[in-house]
Symmetry: C2
Amino acid sequence: MRIALDAMGGDHGVRPNVVGALKAIACVPDLTVVLVGDSAQIESHLSTGAYPTDRIEIVASAGVVGMNEKPVEALRKKPDNSISRCWQLTATKKTDGLVSAGNTGAVVGAGLFARRFLKGVRRPGIGALMPTEKGHCVVLDVGANIFPKSSHLLQYGVMGSVLAKHRLGIAEPKIGLMNVGEEEGKGHELVQKTYALFRNSPFADRFVGNVEGRDVHKGLVDVIITDGFVGNVLLKHAEGVFEFIMQMVATDVVGVLSAEKALAAQAVQKLADKFHYSTAGGAPLLGVDGVCIICHGSSDERAIANALAVAAQDVRVQLNDRIVEELAKLPAFGDED
Amino acid sequence: MRIALDAMGGDHGVRPNVVGALKAIACVPDLTVVLVGDSAQIESHLSTGAYPTDRIEIVASAGVVGMNEKPVEALRKKPDNSISRCWQLTATKKTDGLVSAGNTGAVVGAGLFARRFLKGVRRPGIGALMPTEKGHCVVLDVGANIFPKSSHLLQYGVMGSVLAKHRLGIAEPKIGLMNVGEEEGKGHELVQKTYALFRNSPFADRFVGNVEGRDVHKGLVDVIITDGFVGNVLLKHAEGVFEFIMQMVATDVVGVLSAEKALAAQAVQKLADKFHYSTAGGAPLLGVDGVCIICHGSSDERAIANALAVAAQDVRVQLNDRIVEELAKLPAFGDED
């Protein structure tokens, strides 16, 4: 299979993308990576070693969307930027999908502009994996749709379940709705309407109702549905609070030890690695035709390699066909949903 | 000064409230606590020891709002419940404020019904203290107002600043707006409008712009403004993720040690205590006439004692007078704000 990689994406330039691609093809035998971006820069990083030229291709594009640029404006000004070119390759079936550590808004925006949604999908959403006491759960949306309708959230529950099944191996994923309290009737109009939609849907038996912020890491549910604003704050908060606490553990716990200080420091490092975002391999934009994996801006080569492997896996299990099948079970929505 | 304590509030019944009140008067010389609730139950916990009868009073009330009851319904069905009685004592100036670990929705609801807002206040909001690398920051609202207007959020910035000044000792608190990205123009209509209101307000020089979920614990800002839905998810997520990580540290770090295992376990416990919600002493409902401190449902006697001490301190510094003074600096709002 073939995955387009936005070679220009991320905070660290071309290098981690090219090296990540080389790592990925070494691990995933049937993968070809199409590096999209400035050919000269890409080639300069490739020239340092031997690589299988039949499994690394270069597609030149001009212009890069900066990490802090306004997505819509940037996409318009630079029509041949690396992100749009990745989408174009995917839309024309020259690749099965794309991976980008670039401007998230631009990756989503270019995907929405292409309007190649999967059959039945109202709005694509980003699903992120978050660690729990029992493994991982899927949280979506985490930033593609900050003011969704209830029908969007219902579809996110369905798409998230497909991801949980095929990525996490959970046969019957349980779905929870992020809210400010557990009881039915809590929250604003959007969550109340979404609650009712789930209860009356073919997925009612998998819908456990409302969950709260404190439940995210307990592993009570496998899929947590929320609007892209809350999901984005939550995902970034998890990252920030994890760093904050691990730093305190390093000073206040490891720091007071002497004989076993090195051993404890090693264990802390292992824990930090286990939950580092780079191991998750990026977050998929679900609901679009073709696989799209969005990586953290600060992704290193390991994170890029993991994201490419994950993209290949999603293609292999035909994740999108499974999504279309499941969405077809939903009844038609009303205009207000 | 005199603080009403909802003796029936919380998950653990009357005992932690009564014992917490006794602890508080031992530490705060000018404090009298008015215990509100079932007299027989309150007296049974008081009878076990000597206490200064001039500083612990009992006001009988009938009916308790259950922790999971629907607030509006419960308040209507049980007009003489302990929460409403605490508000009544405060509204009639028989007490300077109230503390409750009861149903948060009912505490806020009864306060809103009383309609005794401070001069100029559009909607009260709950301010919570969250730990940062540099101390604490104030996050508000965390649950009183889940669908606010931009003028509410602007006022929260002002009220939160007064709290940061008098509770945290920060002379010129910096204010940040929770958003999905740092750049101006990010987010939905509410945050965009709020951003513009701040930039054109007399507090523009203290407004640093947007902050993201990962910034909460960095100490970049002293006051973080957000709607009550996001704030509630954030506060509860912090609690959940802290427990989750500390549990992993206990098994994966402390668990691998031998000679210094006890020393490390002790350090972990100290860290857990330092950031336990009970040390924060509850979250104030800002914008109402009288001090109102809302405690965690699972509050123990230490948490209740801390909340009473904090309430006394807020009365002492005339926090509400300072809030009214600062709010008076804001220009009149438009109908759409």
